[in-house]
Symmetry: C2
Subunit: 447 residues, 2 copies
């Protein structure tokens, strides 16, 4: 009897020990998110310092930090600071009179946003006149913003000068731009986005989490302008978010970003309208895919699975980014390359058409005796054509986010640019204004 | 013992009977194709009468017969004989001087091909002059062709007049156009296709079956022309099958389909270049999808599974056509609708640009004192722009077979058309030739 008891007890001990090891191993292998239900540190509401959030979310934070140094290029874009003006000198002409003609570098990763906005010559061109560069320029560059907007109010924030407001801005884009500290849920933090939705009768708080994985990007990746003397950050979405709808909004507001020199065209500069472009009926958006699905795919580190915060082109990690849905990533990469090539080629044709229009209008204006009404019509088409082209050009996917829409808009843009050129020639009654390929000297006429 | 024996035997009987019923049920449920390995009738090589093939392949034949009456339309196309000239009167202008401006109906199903080619006013316009309409016009309209090409030779076939050759043609498109009777394998039957491949260094006999499920459609669904006085059926693929490559081929051959009246432009009429368009890097082609996968999907009739030969738009049976790969056909249909709308809208803008160019060149020619070299440049761009537009317009998918390519080509076409108009104005030194929207009276200017 005693032997049996010993044996049973020994057996129980072994079973319990094995169970304990099993449970401990299971717990150890849980993803960080699950463990973080009990936070290690308390994160204050709108905490600007992402490293504080990083204590509770080390994987997400470590991947976010990589955006500081992920300066890798793709064929048409990527995350280095290459100069668009050097790569495509047509843009020097297209943006003449606007600071973008002096300095237009491709954007780097999120963690560089603050440094890069402070160093761009575009703003420094204005620093002798602090009033010309408003604090509004910080709106998309810092995780200090949610707190500043709360404390100062958006109106006061936008009215401050860039230099003055800059004293209170120390952090680049970070956790607080998209997350609510108390719950980690995705939220709209930019008042301009909330107000744009409101004017459309939409309440973002009712959106699904999957929808929010796109909408939080619209805190910044949108077309916007600085409204009125207060430079109030405003999204031009009241008529809709398609490119013609934004043009009609700007028309109604009588807004222009700058006057094109010598043609005197009231121009519009497109910003980075990824949200509007992607949501305009793209196949991925319509299929329920979010920005984060491709740009922040789920990755593994040991037993942890988390959404990578090293945001960059999916072309750099297609197995993780595209491979979540597409089994053949080689096929996907070839497809993206072909689409981007088609859009890039069509973009250049469109630029040539706009430059021909610009030169024709210039000559007509210089002639002095051109019909003013026809000239104004030419300017109107120049303005529209260039904004349409810029809507595609400034958008960060070389058309891939919505290929058909990109090519449809570029086709319209080139057609309007040619009509602008024709109107200028009509205004001046001078067919010599119809020269094409005017960007390059006639004897060369190729890049 | 005796009882046991009885029991065992009775058991065996039941087991054997059940097995027999099972095997018989299995055999009964085999697809027709499998049973047809032992053909019911012998089919002669190149048998023109599809109903003979139908004895062995009743499901395929029954579905083929439906192409006689499957006259259902989609939003932008379909299988009824609606008039393109009525639906889009711009085409009356675009094809002025060509029989297509008199009669241009959409194509019906395969089984109507012979009747429809005999009844089109395009050919009847020429019947007073039998030499003008060559036998070559039957090349894509009859399953008599493989036999006729074998007996007469392609050269003699093409040299006969339409009326003369017509006496030997009694069958519409049918089995013999794509199948080898002895083996049922898919084959190239049109000598023009075989020769085009040969000139490209390709041997279709080495193609996979899946590739042939696209290539057999290229027996007819291609761009072609009638070469030389013998009206020899020829595919313009020697430089490649992209639209610019075919234009450069026609340039080298000095070929034109007709002269545009008053502008004197040497024009090209695009036929139905589905094969070239689909294979130019489309996402479905690159993913290994064949024409037959969508237009002849596998369907069931009782226990039989076969490839439907009721060829028509997949928009009419999306569950069968798209549902083989796509789980959400509602999504697919919306996607197709959006793409076709984008292409159709861009097509109309392009047509307006070409018509403006035509009217400008006409005026310049009529003026009489226009610069001949500039005028010739204008004609060259008019020719190219219209062929590019027609390549997309005559293609039977409103761009869906290759959406990005459609929009890229239309963007180029409109840009070239505007440049043609500008050259005409330069040639005449007259800016009044730069009017836009000339298709409609200025006070209306919308359809």
């Amino acid at each position: 009897m005693k032997n049996y008891t010993t044996l049973i007890l020994a057996g129980l001990v072994i079973i319990l020990a094995a169970a304990l090891v099993g449970v401990l191993t299971y717990v150890r292998n849980q993803p960080v998110e699950v463990r973080a239900v009990e936070p290690l540190v308390e994160i204050a509401p709108m905490e600007p310092d992402s490293s504080v959030w990083g204590v509770n979310f080390p994987n997400q934070y470590d991947s976010f930090v990589k955006t500081k140094t992920n300066n890798v290029d793709t064929t048409y874009g990527g995350s280095s600071m290459f100069s668009w003006l050097e790569r495509d000198p047509r843009q020097v002409i297209l943006f003449a009179g606007n600071p973008f003609s002096k300095d237009y570098n491709d954007d780097r990763g999120h963690a560089n946003a603050l440094q890069d906005v402070r160093e761009t010559k575009r703003l420094n061109l204005n620093l002798d006149d602090p009033k010309r560069t408003p604090g509004t320029c910080y709106s998309c560059k810092s995780s200090d913003n949610p707190g500043l907007w709360e404390r100062l109010g958006m109106e006061a924030y936008d009215k401050m000068s860039f230099v003055e407001l800059g004293k209170q801005v120390t952090e680049p884009i970070g956790c607080a731009n998209c997350h609510e500290a108390e719950t980690m849920r995705l939220i709209v933090t930019n008042p301009a986005l909330e107000e744009a939705f409101e004017r459309q009768g939409k309440d973002w708080a009712t959106f699904t989490r999957q929808e929010m994985r796109t909408v939080v990007c619209a805190n910044c990746h949108v077309e916007y302008y600085f409204k009125g003397d207060g430079k109030y950050l405003t999204f031009p979405w009241d008529n809709g978010t398609k490119v013609e709808e934004m043009i009609s909004y700007y028309e109604e507001e009588g807004f222009k970003d700058w006057n094109y020199p010598e043609t005197d065209t009231p121009m519009l500069k497109a910003q980075h309208p990824e949200y509007e472009f992607f949501t305009a009926g793209s196949t991925h958006y319509n299929a329920g895919v979010s920005c984060a699905d491709c740009h922040m795919p789920y990755v593994r580190d040991g037993a942890s699975k988390y959404s990578s915060h090293d945001v960059h082109s999916p072309l750099l990690n297609p197995e993780q980014a595209c491979g979540q849905c597409h089994t053949d990533t080689d096929y996907v990469i070839k497809r993206v390359n072909l689409i981007q090539q088609q859009v890039a080629d069509t973009k250049i044709d469109t630029e040539d058409a706009i430059i021909d229009a610009i030169n024709a209008i210039k000559t007509a204006v210089t002639a002095g005796n051109a019909d003013p009404a026809l000239l104004d019509e030419a300017r109107k088409l120049h303005r529209e054509a260039q904004f349409m082209w810029d809507f595609i050009s400034a958008e960060n996917s070389t058309g891939f986010h919505n290929p058909e829409y990109a090519l449809e808009v570029l086709a319209k843009s080139a057609n309007l640019a040619r009509q602008a050129q024709m109107l200028a020639a009509q205004a001046a009654g001078d067919t010599s204004l119809l020269a094409t390929g005017t960007y390059y000297p006639a004897e060369v006429n190729t890049p």
